[in-house]
Amino acid sequence: MKGLYLTIALSPLLGAIIAGFFGKTQIIGRKGSHIVTIAGVALSCVLSLYVLYGFMMGNIESQSMDLYTWLLSGQYEFKIGFLVDPLTAVMMSVVTFVSLMVHVYTIGYMHDDPGYQRFFSYIALFTFSMLMLVMSNNFLQLFFGWEAVGLVSYLLIGFWFTRETAVFANMKAFLINRVGDFGFLLGIAAILYYCGSLDYGVVFSKIVDVYNAQTTIEIIPGMEWYVVNTIGILLFIGAMGKSAQIPLHVWLPDSMEGPTPISALIHAATMVTAGIFMVSRMSPIYELAPAALGFILIVGALTAFLMGLIGIVQTDIKRVVAYSTLSQLGYMTVALGVSAYNVAIFHLMTHAFFKALLFLAAGSVIIAMHHEQDMRKMGGLKKYMPITYITSLVGSLALIGIPPFSGFFSKDSIIDAVHHSSSSFAGVAYILVVAGVFITAFYSFRMFFLVFHGEERMDEHTKSHLHETPKVVTLPLILLAIPSAVIGILVIEPMLFGDYFTGPYLKALLVDATSPIHALGELIHEHGVMGMIVTSFSHPPVWLAISGVVAAWYLYLKNPALTGKLREKFSAAHFVLEKKFWFDELYIDGFAKGGRKIGAILWKVGDIKLIDGLMVNGSAKAVGWFSLIVRHIQTGYLFHYAFSMIIGLVLLITLFVIL
């Protein structure tokens, strides 16, 4: 098995190395670069699916294996290794499948770009890093993968490095992620201190002792916190950075400066879900940390609701999808917050398919529109781009949760879990996530109608060139549309209520009588998946989704004049949303400028005035001043020297005589 897992992880890396270092040579070239990287990722995708299948059939056992000792210091041993269990297998399959689709799509999307080889090298490197992250059996390697995907994200957001906005966005993304990683690293340090190891297996068993001993830590004097809660929150701060939760979400919309394929791969389907994966992986810790779960629930619910609101006022097609991603990540986080980890992973998976689809469809539109991203200049694309149109419709229906599309099952399960949760924050969270359903439907179909229906608002030149995009672009759309439509109905039973998520590392993912999705499980058990669909029509979410679509239809197709009036009437609210709650202003003008100001003060006052001016040059001056006085003694006249020598001699002799 070790060989198999190594092949899965390393074959994309090999492709990345070949394309990256030799892509510009004659032998490899542009074509060779996409062949090697696609071959590498395809191999790892096929093998990942094989592993997933093996787990479903029960032929493969969960296994943790060490590869080598990274470092040994004192009593601490840091090892690199793999942990492959059902959770990992799902992540591996999702990552490599979406990655493969994006690789193929890139052939069309980046066709004329001079950085073609570099791009393929980066996305293959990303796939490797992400696999290292999900396959890790220890916190060290997790952190390596965690930061490595951040690095590749940095490189890809700034892929078009001559654009000022892109190089600003990539720095912003990296730095905000570093704020999250700051918490994450402290969490890891806490784990090492309290559990004595970074290996998952050891940590998950030791943490129980820490919990039972009710160990506390006093970070702020006079306030004793349970260690497990503290660890949970510190680790989650890392997840807030990577999975773009409020207040560390601001980098994700700006990351849209990168080429669209990576928005689909990194900033929708895989990397941003790393935080969700991490919390699920750490479920044995979080199950002992109720306060941390409460914190997670609130953060997730706020993200789901507020980011959806901002999505309503965006005019850039990619930014709408980006805010939608933020909001959906909030939903996943909510699921984590109510201990429904398997539901979070389920939504992560369906979301990976339909959101990658929506991004790639948006990219297809952008190609057709000659790199125009403003929806106000689109409209009526339905007749020019039938494949993009239909696949977008599938993606949108899945996103807003209309049965029987995949998103319905995952999102409805989340809402149901919140509904049945015993968490003290569940009431508030429930209102926020249910309201979020209407908002999601509204912004999604606002975008859908603005782009594909209504009057054609583009200029004549663009219009005359409009046509469906080439096969390398539409094929991934179709291949992603299929799971977006059907994956939910197929896997909800085994994934949520079967014994799929079992194994030594996944105890907390089991569904038992106390689980918030227990009721849903019984429903499906008795009436099957159809029962869930039928029952859903007696609950608000589906109706809210439908009314969201209707509202969008009315405001943007039927009666567009009303939209302007509404905007004027609610101009204050609109302004708040356009300003995105002023988070950017706070960070850029507050923290970034503030940091530079403090740095400048420390430098000019601390270093230059006090240390150099007072201490260094001051002592130099003092020496100078002293020597100025002493200098008077050194007159240069011989008799002065002779005279002082005689006096000195007399003094010395006197001294000796007395002694």
Binding site: L71, T162, L175, Y193, I219, I598, G599, M615
Partner: protein, 509 residues
Amino acid sequence: MSDWLLSLVIWLPIVGGVYVMLTGHKDSGRARQIGLAVACVTFVVSLSLYTGFDSTTASMQFVEKASWVSSFGIYYHLGVDGISMPLIILTTFTMILVLLAGWDVIKKKPEQYIAAFLIMEGLMVGVFAAMDAFLFYVFWEGMLIPMFLIIGIWGGPNRVYATIKFFLYTFLGSVLMLVALIYMRLQPDINSFEIAAFYNLNLSLTEQIFIFLAFLMAFAVKVPMWPVHTWLPDAHVEAPTGGSVILAAIMLKIGGYGFLRFSLPISPLASQELDWLLIGMSLIAVVYVGLVALVQKDMKKLIAYSSIAHMGFVTLGFFIIFSIMTPDGSINIKEAALGVEGAMVQMISHGFISAALFLAVGVMYDRIHSREIADYGGVANVMPVFAAFAVFFAMANSGLPGTSGFVGEFMVILASFNANFWIAFLAATTLILGAAYSLWMIKRVILGKVVHDHVEKMEDLNRRELILMVALAIPVLVFGIYPDPIVEVMHVSVENLLQHISTQLTVAR
């Protein structure tokens, strides 16, 4: 061969340097070749220190001892352990790069330039290998002379101010150290300058504090620690590229080495008494100096400040050990080792990364003769290969896992958490600050559009420069992925050191 191996590593470059100086003025091409050959041979010879090293013992290896000034008990006594051996190899490795870096850039008296570096190499190795305190002092002072000359002769326009500042700072520290050494030599139960003999002096706490402070002046200036750090940015800015590389990669490490070899084992009580001071200064280095680095306009100054911030982890790792105690008041060696070894890894890694960053600035400086960030922008457009290395080393500088820059900081932060949450918290701010100043510089220098005409004319790396970059990228990556080989050789020495300190603490109580 092991009987005179260390002497060979010390004297080969010194003799080679003198030879180049005396004969090289006629044919500078030949002087360069001889110089490089000497450096390469020295490196290869020094590698046998690693291959022949026995990592199961804490006692000194490759020992040589001969009487030097017998009436004062001064010996020519050399030897290495797991702490000094990696630093010696770092020195001999870096010297090859330094000579290559100045290859066709130094036009003024190249043979003397090469000679200065070679002689300095021998003296620096001597510092790490000396087991006699007086011999150490001679090498310590001696190595400064070539450095003054390098900055003073081949330096920038403001070189005289920088040299004097550098000289005064380091000299003041050195003199106090000499006083401390002589004081210890004059103790009744001692008859030599052996460093090891100083370890077992029964000094009172007051005596130890004075000795500790005297050493602190010498070593804190070298590291440099806040607030005696301001000479470093000035020295770097004026020094030629090679000088900066040696300064950052090796000379700063001598300060760190001093703490391990002298301060901690000779004055353990004082070290424990004053650890709050050292930890405080280290954390100020990380946070305060990190913020100062953010606002620098000169690339070399920025990297210099970044060096100070990174060296903060070294001193933090050393002095955190007194907070990692067992209930009975001795040091918890198995846990504290993480801090000391992390600090050592940080020193070695910083040697590679800072060398690479200064070389990268040198590469750009050689093209348009400016170090100002504002004079660049969009370099990636004209120098794509160089840009890839610049981004890589900037990432390493900001401690990206998978590069060596991560390992030391990671270990020290983990060890700090053991001591106190807030120490780890402040140390971990480097994650944000380090990335901020490194990447902001990358953004302004490497990325973006070309806005200046002179940037348009910059050519990508030539073969020599490419070799330099690759030669540094490899260890940064390899030790990031697999750091165990570096740490493995130092385990026994570090644990022995900690054991000694711990015993002294318990005995005193």
